[in-house]
Symmetry: C2
Subunit: 150 residues, 2 copies
DNA sequence: TTAAGTGCAAATATTTTGCTGTCAC
DNA sequence: GTGACAGCAAAATATTTGCACTTAA
């Protein structure tokens, strides 16, 4: 993926100014939330956190900004097997795609990076002559702890 | 996956009677839709098609039946990169998982089966000690035709 | 200055639920 | 006969949109 390897804090904000995308108080708050999030926030959580930075942030601004970030390939949208409701989760895009594993019993989300996944995507691009822009591998099942308990 | 290799028409209905799940007129209509669908129907389409078989079928019965089928591992739920709205698509589960590729320009959905995908899942089960029940690999990008046009 | 962005409220879209009556077994 | 299932309408959840006001560049 074409993003730089280094994880500069404020990279999303830097991208905005490079592209001449207008920076507002509200966007700054939302970007800050996305940049400092450890992971997987849904729209409601992003709104709540952004409101702490700038209480004027509105729900619709969150959705509009998420859409903007998604269009620019700066965040990934996840469904995480819809374990908690039907909404989406968002996380900052990193260079290496990772697999999300959701435990159907305890709801824990785990991540996994694999060379095989990279090979698989290469195979798809080659065999299907398909230019991959975004990929999402989500797995539902039972984590070690929950398997032991059952 | 533990389902038989052969694609018997009426397999979903057979599963129901084996498990002692009550068969109703409405469920029969919905199962028939799922069994004869070429692929990827959303809830609204399933409702429309089921109503043609049995006009009494209600929207909520469709959702309740889809949930039942999902719980029993008989169908897969897909998001298909949310190219058309935010709803879900459903398809009968087959033995071999397949990758769904959605063209972000023309909206076409393509499928791909790969041994590498099977290897990847085995790696996850082994390395993460995670029991996979369902997996979903969705890819967004540009198909050959749309790449040429652009 | 002015086009882009915002909050607010209302609209949409999708899915779920409570309730009362019906039907499969 | 009875417990599971149905339709209906209303609620819940998630996201989008129209519009008048505000603000970044």
């Amino acid at each position: 993926m074409p993003l730089p390897q280094t994880e500069i804090p404020g990279r999303l904000q830097a991208y905005f100014s490079e592209r001449g995308i207008r920076m507002t108080q509200q966007r700054r708050a939302i970007l800050q939330v996305m940049e400092t999030a450890s992971k997987h926030l849904d729209a409601a959580q992003i709104l709540r956190k952004a409101k702490k930075i700038d209480p004027s942030v509105d729900r619709s601004t969150v959705y509009r900004t998420l859409k903007l970030l998604k269009r620019n390939g700066l965040i990934d949208e996840l469904d995480l097997m819809h374990i908690h409701g039907e909404g989406h989760y968002y996380e900052r895009k990193v260079n290496r795609d990772h697999i999300h594993m959701a435990c159907l019993r305890c709801g824990k989300i785990m991540e996994f990076v694999s060379d095989i996944f990279e090979n698989l995507k290469q195979q798809v691009e080659k065999d299907c002559r398909f230019k991959i822009m975004v990929s999402r591998l989500e797995i539902g099942g039972y984590c070690t702890a929950c398997r032991a308990q059952q």
